[in-house]
């Protein structure tokens, strides 16, 4: 019994990143729902788990963690022999994987999250999309995806020859964007388009999409 708990919800991109990792590793866990509309992520109880008041928060026995990319890395290392390998034992391959997880964090996500908020989240909350912001960040995302197009012409996945955390970290925001006008940026780049189709077809990811549809 691993005693893994994830405090969050399936709609959150950061929480989904962690859930995808747990499913890839075939790990048992409990999802503790956090009702963000009711401000549950700002309560004292939750702030004790994540002082930044953001989902997800994570527990594995006595260990308490936050920041989705720290959690996924912990899971991938601690449970390396289980399920899908998400990191590489070879140190040079691991270094390359680490480069592309940083690219996701520093280059892809700032633009992709902004677009996800404007085009996918705001409509869900009944708010108005700011199309000037959309235009600005689609331009930024396009530059990043040009680099990805070249990279994916040389390497089957971003992190290397196999699916890894570097690819997985992109799943939640990419999935949302493929349901918006921004999908054109992915579809017009053949290598990127093939990569998106591949990673979003993974059974672990499909489980999360299915969970969203039943909650």
């Amino acid at each position: 019994m691993t005693g893994i708990k994830v405090h969050g919800n399936t709609l959150s991109t950061a929480a989904a990143r962690v859930l995808a990792t747990l499913y890839e590793k075939d790990l048992e866990f409990e999802l503790v729902p956090i009702d963000m509309r009711a401000g549950e992520h700002k309560t004292e109880a939750f702030l004790a788990l994540n002082p930044f008041g953001q989902v997800p928060a994570f527990e594995d026995g006595d260990l308490q963690l936050f920041e989705s990319r720290a959690i996924t890395q912990y899971i991938a290392h601690e449970y390396a022999p289980k399920g899908t390998p998400l990191i590489f034992p070879d140190s040079k391959k691991m270094a390359i994987l680490s480069v592309w997880t940083e690219v996701e964090a520093q280059k892809f996500d700032p633009a992709a999250s902004k677009l996800t908020f404007e085009l996918a989240i705001k409509p869900m909350l009944g708010l108005v999309t700011d199309f000037a912001v959309v235009e600005e960040f689609e331009a930024k995302l396009g530059i990043v995806l040009d680099v990805y197009e070249t990279r994916l012409g040389r390497s089957k996945y971003l992190g290397g020859d196999c699916f890894s955390l570097a690819d997985l970290h992109h799943l939640p925001t990419t999935h949302y964007l493929m349901g918006t006008q921004t999908k054109k940026l992915f579809e017009c780049r053949p290598n990127v388009s093939a990569w998106v189709a591949d990673i979003t077809a993974r059974p672990a990811w499909k489980k999360i999409v299915a969970m969203r549809n039943t909650h």
Partner: protein, 218 residues
């Protein structure tokens, strides 16, 4: 074979890696990239980093970019020498270092980076700083520092009672931030101030600081 680091001493992101190399007592060669002559846009440089940014590390057959990936690589490869930055012998400590390096990356950096860019980066290009951008990000930075103040009242450093990569990653941008008019954000928070004074007393960070000369002629 000696590591080659392509970058500039004044650059925050280059300094992040240099700090790590000094902490680990690792020898390296700094290969200067002339940003003013757009050396970072040359095909030979783009072949190393398709985003055209410094720093880039070459170690034998591999080429790495993104400063935090490089510093993690150095901290891991040389984990048996110099300062222990990643706490590899303790699962819990290693995981907490990862949490607080992500905090720097996802919470601290997005607030402090625009301030440094507006205050130092724009004048170098002959542009006017946008005070509205600075003000908005000072508000964000204060909220992050409030969390740090609480955390540092219960642990000596960010990830625990041990110095780690998580603290080191804060050095370059904070160093320049203390040369702006808004250093009180650090100095008015007693635990944050004590933490900052502690880490900046480290020989490795003093060595890096010698090359970080932005703001000295302003």
């Amino acid at each position: 074979m000696v590591l080659k680091l392509h970058g500039l001493s004044v650059s925050t992101n280059t300094a992040r890696v240099v700090a790590c190399l000094h902490e680990k007592d690792v020898e390296f060669e700094l290969v200067l990239v002339d940003l003013f002559a757009c050396g970072n846009k040359e095909p030979s440089f783009l072949a190393k980093n398709p985003f055209g940014q410094i720093p880039v590390l070459e170690d034998g057959g591999i080429t790495l970019f993104e400063s935090r990936a490089i510093s993690s690589y150095v901290a891991e490869k040389f984990k048996e020498s110099g300062t222990d930055l990643i706490r590899h012998e303790s699962l819990e400590e290693a995981a907490l270092v990862k949490v607080w390096t992500e905090v720097e990356s996802q919470q601290y950096h997005p607030a402090i980076c625009p301030i440094i860019y507006e205050f130092f980066g724009k004048p170098v290009q002959g542009l006017e700083p946008d005070q509205a951008v600075i003000d908005a990000n000072l508000v964000k930075l204060e909220k992050v520092l409030d969390v740090y103040e609480t955390k540092l009242s219960s642990t000596k450093y960010l990830a625990g009672d041990f110095y780690s990569l998580a603290d080191l990653h804060h050095f370059p941008y904070t160093f320049y931030f203390m040369k702006t008019p808004w250093g009180s954000l650090i100095n008015d928070r007693p635990h944050v101030k004590a933490w900052w004074e502690d880490i900046t007393s480290r020989p490795a960070l003093n060595k890096v600081a010698e090359g970080m000369t932005f703001g000295e002629n302003q």
